[in-house]
Amino acid sequence: MSSSLTDLPVRGGNITAATLPDAERKGLTKKEIAADHPTWCPGCGDFSVLALYFKLIEKRKLWHEKVTTIAGIGCSSRFPYFVQAHGAHYIHGRALPFASGISLSRPDLHVFVFGGDGDAFSIGGNHFNHTARKNIKMTYVVMDNWVYGLTKKQTSPTSPIGFKSKTDITGAMDQPINPMKQAISAGATFVARTTHTNPNHVLQMMEAAMDHDGFSFVECLSECVEFYEGAFDASNPRKGGVFNSVPADHDVTDEIAAYKLAGEPFPGHFGIFYKNNRPTKNANEQKIIAAAREKVTGLKDWQILQKNFDRLK
């Protein structure tokens, strides 16, 4: 039979016979993980996120071929070109369903998605909600700069009221989306917030997100020095701001408490806001597959189809 979505699909050759067993492979160096030199403006917050993604791959000894880096469209979404691994630069706003297709059909891969606030919450807003509620296993890092970077300074769905952009010359007037609240209410099972100016924290959040079995969402503030300079100064101690971790006594399984935390005025808190262990869609689908396959044990694929056709005579 064809390999089921449960198996590691290998055909036409044995990976371990042709190459070194994983245990004998050395972890990748930064040089091996880095691809194109990023095209971002000097000083763009996205550089830190990329550097920490490399760290994550190094630290967790992920192999090139096991990582898929997926993005939509935007400055931040150029991400996959800078990573030496399988990756895809998809269309604006739709990276999540694309990544879901990978996640649901290939349990052997780590699926990471990167993108901007416009990509995530404007054009891709509905996909965000549905990927979260379906709890499809992947890690999604939104590099939130409160502005449209690539298209040069239009209002984004996270731009605060009053922000002057090319499309709101007198200041943004629409209530911004709160990514944390959005994620919690959509049913995301891992919701965290970090900022590019605190590298250790970014890495910590990415690791926790990667280890979460489900849809793990990290909002990472990432300054657009070109079009929204200083947006996050209030969260950066080096700029006179404060970096507040999520209070030690915060219960991450308490949805209401998480929602309250998300509602705090900027700079708010950083860390894991919410987490639960609801089964993933990946696992639920596997259950359906297992139950269905129990009824056809021992049959080849063509014999299963034959049984259907026998009933259509």
Binding site: S4, G12, Y81, S100, I102, R106
Partner: protein
């Protein structure tokens, strides 16, 4: 079928085919009667084709099912019926004109008041179907089951094989409460025993030529869904819309048995994106839709063209634009299938001709998508989707294929290698180790050979040519369509999709009347096969028969494509967009009207 002789003693006539139109409301189980008849014909090695209309409203509304059963080749569901089975006054009045003069009208006399003027032209047989059903079943069933009662009447009229029908009824009601099966059988036998013989003659089908092997009976959507499974597709995503939904429901139900899954998404954009994600991950995946849903998919489709990712898109066409005519047929999506989206984005478009062809087209589409790393759009339509046909059972062991991802490590890999002359490169899925450590990016930005962005004009020209050349290479592998009828003559009818049957019948009818008419059927629409110009050269007129509008310039969508390729003004259109399938006589009459000098050989 020949019309019965009026009056005289009841007799049994041999017939080689019969067209039975059943008209009622959708909740009366009209489709069920048609389904039983179609299945019975399939099991009796007869040819069968059905046609049905489903109301767009949910809770009933007028519905018809037409079955054409023949001992010889059946190409279409037939123009005019031999027998009309009418449950209501509206069924009677709306459909009597679709009965051949002298044909039989079997009506439920509890609901239908026959009209005197029609009684002269058609043989009327009134049976109080509703009342007799209640009597037969008793209890509180009301007239539920009258469809099965009517099936009994039809079985009597055509001397159908009763044990086989009983078996079919048994299979249909298995697992349900036994009293339901018993009621169904009671209704069936009551209908069968109702005396018709002294009112009218009965018929018996002549023995059909025995076919080799068994026949299977299903509709086009089932054939397409099972064809995808046979092709090895194990992942897909969709959003419900009529008439595509049946396929997604089938795949959702069946795929887990094969270790696969089908996801219902939040919309069509997510669906195609998820399917492309599956294809990128190494499993050729399917998405599909109808009408407006197809429009929503076009941006992502362009990405799959650019990134060269295998993908199957099923388009079950319905009347458009916008919500259009959701439960009617139209062939007006050819342009969006071939050209929909921005930019130059060559993709493959194939249209199955009948139910059996749906099954094999699915397999062909998957193999093209894989080999050429390209999206393939299967353009079917509401008519094939819902009609039931019998066809020779495929050799499952032979046709089923395993297309699990091949993750064998490769030494190096250029996803968009320009050195390949025909432009055909293979997609290497994530999970594949690339030994030189240089990994590909799949992208919608114009790119270099590794998938990294490139704004070079030269690169854009070369990559555009690569994507085009692949399809030119594919076209060279396509067979030139076979000509039905002589290869030279006055008029060539050209069809695509579900019109194949009626077009062939139109050729038969025209030739029988002494006209010089042949036809071809184009299954591979984008790219087109080579060699059509040689076929066209043999005819004075090339008339493209399509269920779409004649357009601003007087020809439909395929005709437009053929004119663009051949620049030949003798290519003209025979079009209609009334939401119904072509009748054979429509085609013949329109051809006559189009070719003013007549269809005879000049």
């Amino acid at each position: 079928m020949t019309a019965p002789s009026a009056g005289g003693a009841p007799k049994v006539s041999k017939v080689s085919e019969a067209i039975i139109r059943i008209a009622g409301n959708s909740q009366d189980g009209i489709q069920a009667i048609g389904g039983f008849l179609a299945r019975l014909a399939g099991r009796s090695e007869q040819e069968v084709m059905t046609f049905m209309t489903i109301p767009a409203t949910i809770s009933g509304g007028p519905s018809i099912f037409q079955v054409r059963i023949g001992s010889g080749e059946v190409l279409s569901s037939g123009d005019d019926a031999d027998v009309l089975l009418a449950f209501y006054q509206h069924s009677y009045e709306d459909h009597i004109t679709s009965v051949k003069k002298g044909g039989i009208v079997l009506y439920d006399s509890d609901h239908v008041e026959p009209k005197a003027e029609w009684q002269k032209e058609y043989h009327h047989i009134g049976v109080p179907i509703s009342g007799l059903t209640v009597e037969a079943i008793g209890g509180t069933a009301k007239d539920k089951g009258k469809n099965i009662y009517a099936l009994g009447l039809v079985a009597k009229m055509f001397d159908l094989n009763i044990p086989k029908l009983e078996k079919l009824i048994g299979e249909r009601f298995t697992g349900k409460d036994t009293s339901i099966l018993n009621n169904a059988l009671a209704a069936f036998h009551a209908g069968y025993s109702h005396s018709l013989g002294n009112v009218i003659e009965t018929f018996k089908f002549v023995e059909s030529q025995k076919k080799t092997g068994h026949q299977v009976v299903m509709n086009g959507n089932e054939a397409l869904g099972y064809g995808l499974i046979a092709a090895g597709v194990r992942f897909g995503a969709g959003y419900p819309i009529t008439p595509w939904s049946d396929i997604m429901e089938l795949l959702r139900r069946e795929l887990p048995k094969y270790g696969g899954t089908f996801v219902q998404c939040e919309d069509e954009i997510a669906s195609i994106s998820m399917a492309i994600g599956g294809g990128y991950a190494g499993r050729v995946s399917v998405t599909g839709s109808s009408g407006p849903g197809i429009s929503l998919k076009t941006e992502a489709l362009g990405w799959a063209v650019m990134a060269e990712i295998p993908l199957i898109i099923v388009d079950i066409q319905r009347g458009g634009p916008s919500t259009g005519m959701p439960t009617n047929v139209e062939q007006s999506d050819l342009n969006i299938a071939c050209f929909g989206g921005h930019g130059d984005s060559p993709r493959v478009v194939i249209a199955p001709a009948n139910v059996e062809d749906c099954f094999y087209t699915a397999i062909e589409a998957v193999n093209i998508a894989r080999k050429y790393s390209v999206p393939v759009i299967i353009v079917s339509d509401q008519a094939i989707a819902t009609r039931i046909e019998a066809f020779e059972e495929p050799n499952m062991e032979k046709v089923c294929q395993d297309i699990s991802p091949d993750l064998t490590p490769v030494a190096d890999h250029k996803p968009y290698d320009l050195a390949v002359a025909d432009g055909v490169t293979r997609h290497v899925a994530p999970g594949t180790r690339i030994m030189n450590g240089i990994y590909p990016i799949a992208t919608g930005l114009e790119h270099d050979e590794f998938g990294h962005p490139s704004g070079s004009p030269k690169m854009h020209m070369q990559m555009t040519a690569k994507r085009r050349k692949k399809l030119q290479a594919l076209a060279a592998t396509y067979p030139t369509p076979a000509i039905y009828g002589p290869s030279e003559g006055n008029v060539l009818l050209v069809g695509w999709g579900s019109t194949q049957g009626p077009i062939k019948e139109a050729v038969d009818r025209a030739r029988a009347a002494g006209d010089s008419v042949s036809s071809i059927h184009i299954k591979h629409i984008n790219p087109l096969p080579n060699g059509l110009e040689n076929i066209f050269a043999g005819f004075n007129h090339v008339l493209v028969v399509e269920m779409n509008d004649e357009g601003l310039y007087g020809y439909g969508q395929l005709a437009g494509l053929l004119r663009a390729r051949y620049g030949d003004p003798k290519i003209r259109g025979i079009n209609k967009c009334d939401g119904l399938t072509f009748k054979v006589k429509d085609i013949v009459e329109k051809a006559q009207a189009t070719v003013s000098a007549g269809l005879r050989k000049m």
